[in-house]
Amino acid sequence: MVQSPQPGQPDQRAWFRSMLVIRAFEDTVQQLFMQGLVVGTTHLCQGQEAVPVGAIGAMGADDYLTITYRGHGHALARGVDPEAAFAEMMGRETGLCKGRGGSMHFTDFSRGLIGAFAIVGAGLPVALGAAMSAKLRGTKQVALTFFGDGATNIGSFHEALNMASVWKAPVVFVCENNLYGEYSPLRSTTPVDDIAVRAASYAMPGIVVDGNDVQAVHEQTAAAIARARAGEGPTLLECKTYRYSGHSRTDPGKYRKPGELDAWKARDPIIRLGEMLAAEGIMSSDEQEALRQTVQGEIESAVARATAAPWPALEGIGRYVYAD
């Protein structure tokens, strides 16, 4: 249903669609949560869609990525079927990970999505390993790893970036700086405003990009991927963005400064791209609205199918622990 944009080929219509899918998906998850159809916890990414869509759009079909608990958008941008994603969040056998993983562990090896990590920072070393694997096997694959601003304070961030630089690993570190780690504002836990300055500790390029501008994200990621593929080593890419919903399901977001949310909504990545598409005559606002409705319909039908899907059989409970 969602087509992943061609690698390296900016396809603004596809980006727009992909962002709409993510937004509709996340809005729906929020509702399902209220209705008790999705349980446990979820971490939504409304407002941040330009990062997964722009960055993942720059990847090749064989490239690898690791994501986090806030990874629905990345999985969808990479082409994961919303039905399999919903089913996973509902714990169904038809889920992406057969319901074993849930919201925080969207994984799809068929798309190079080699892991979603619920432990902050844990995905960075794994992506580095995949990049080194590609390098050692001589495949020219690149690995992207997504993480938040808060993750840059845990040891794994430091260890992974240092090793990646020493080994000139073909990996791109994509930091989504949404200004908060859970309920803590960036500056209460981090003494710098730009995460990108940390790249200097590892002698790698550190680049700040407007994370609400899908085109800019795409371009900078494409450049970083090209460097990695050419054997020139890793890049730290900091995408400045903002999440509209709370950290997780129970969070009303009271810690926000007054007006902050509205200011960011005024820079909404979907609206911005939509306006550009309309202005440049690529897609009229009527077409956009029609597409939005189509997408909404697709999401609703995906939910319906996921909701009807079977639970895992209890007999299978012990499977997938050891290799067959």
């Binding site: 349980v39 916890t41 993983g101 808060g150 304070n153 845990i154 803590s184 810690y255 409970i317 622990v321």
Partner: protein, 332 residues
């Protein structure tokens, strides 16, 4: 201290029990400080510290970056220089991120220095399944540190236990890891806030019975009590013990109980291998179990915890399974 006639018992939740205990100790001793992720302004991910920042200020209630090994190590530095830090680990599953501090530094510190320092430090870690938090957010971790002499490990099996154990842990001069169960935050019971603090290392007999001893921790305590109700209806009287301390293990209380009941059931929300249940059975077996008494453990199955609700529900021991095990050992 209240006299027996004016009991200060109040009905509070497990969550409030923790918050109240923290507040009481912060109030009682200026050396107590509390640190962890999002505990201040946000009042904790599970709201166990709401209002503490407001009352005690940012010097006593300290938000940390996401740096588990770093801030647990920092707490050790505080503990050996005159403070009594309490650290919150938001999910038990993040304790391995502080692995070195938890395993090599804190338990061994006093010993390595030849007794030069004490380490009055509490690590509160929130664990447990049933919340559908998935594979990396559902461990109880209650037995992960059994092989680290020097570290005490307590488990809060009820609001009263949470309140008493947390206060006792903060007053203890040795490092204590206190496990709380996230499935129990809304549980309520009458708690006497002025009761004497529970003794370190002492299990609690919650229900007496002569036919079988059930030893449990955390959420399994509640389920063991439910099982005891079912069993009572069938004429089987179960003695239910909340183990409370995984280290040190209160083998004396358990031994004394099974000398009376001749029968032992373990109810544990953990894999049996390497857990306190196995340790307990092994220690008792080495002393000689009562004749014809075959102990039985009701444990988590030998695979990771699945997110999918029916799979998770099937994996966590239920009151039914505990009762069934008790019937089996009584029948044998």
């Amino acid at each position: 201290m209240s006299t027996p006639t004016e009991v200060a018992a109040t009905e509070i939740t497990y969550r409030d029990a923790i918050r109240t205990a923290l507040a009481a100790e912060l109030r009682a001793d200026p050396a107590v400080v509390f640190l962890g992720e999002d505990i201040g302004g946000a009042g904790g991910s599970f709201k166990t510290s709401e209002g503490l920042l407001e009352e005690f200020g940012p010097d006593r209630v300290i938000d940390t970056p996401i740096s588990e090994n770093g801030f647990v190590g920092a707490a050790l530095g505080m503990a050996v220089t005159g403070m009594r830090p309490v650290v919150e680990i938001m999910f038990v599953d993040f304790l391995p991120s502080a692995g070195d501090a938890m395993i090599n530094e804190i338990p061994k510190f006093r010993f390595m220095s030849g007794g030069q320092a004490t380490v009055p430090l509490v690590i509160r870690a929130i664990g447990g399944a049933t919340g559908h938090f998935g594979t990396q957010h559902s461990a109880t971790g209650e037995s992960w540190f059994q092989q680290m002499p020097g570290l005490l490990v307590a488990t809060a099996g009820s609001p009263a236990s949470a309140y008493g154990l947390l206060r006792a842990a903060i007053r203890c001069n040795d490092p204590v890891l206190l496990i709380e169960h996230k499935g129990m935050f809304a549980r309520k019971e009458l708690v006497d806030l002025d009761a004497p603090l529970p003794e370190v290392g002492k299990a609690a007999i919650l229900r007496s019975g002569g036919d079988v001893t059930i030893v449990a921790t955390l959420l399994m305590v509640e389920r063991a009590l439910q099982a005891a109700d079912m069993l009572a209806a069938e004429g089987i009287e179960a003695e239910v013990i909340d183990l409370r301390w995984v280290a040190p293990l209160d083998i004396a209380t358990i031994r004394e109980s099974i000398l009376r009941t001749d029968r032992l059931v373990i109810a544990e929300e953990q894999v049996h291998a390497g857990g306190w249940g196995a340790t307990l059975i092994s220690l008792l077996a080495q002393e000689g179990l009562p004749e014809n008494s075959i102990p039985r453990a009701v444990s988590m199955p030998n695979y990771p915890i699945a997110f999918s609700p029916p799979l998770e529900d099937a994996a966590v021991p239920s009151a039914d399974r505990i009762a069934e095990a008790a019937r089996a050992v009584v029948r044998e």
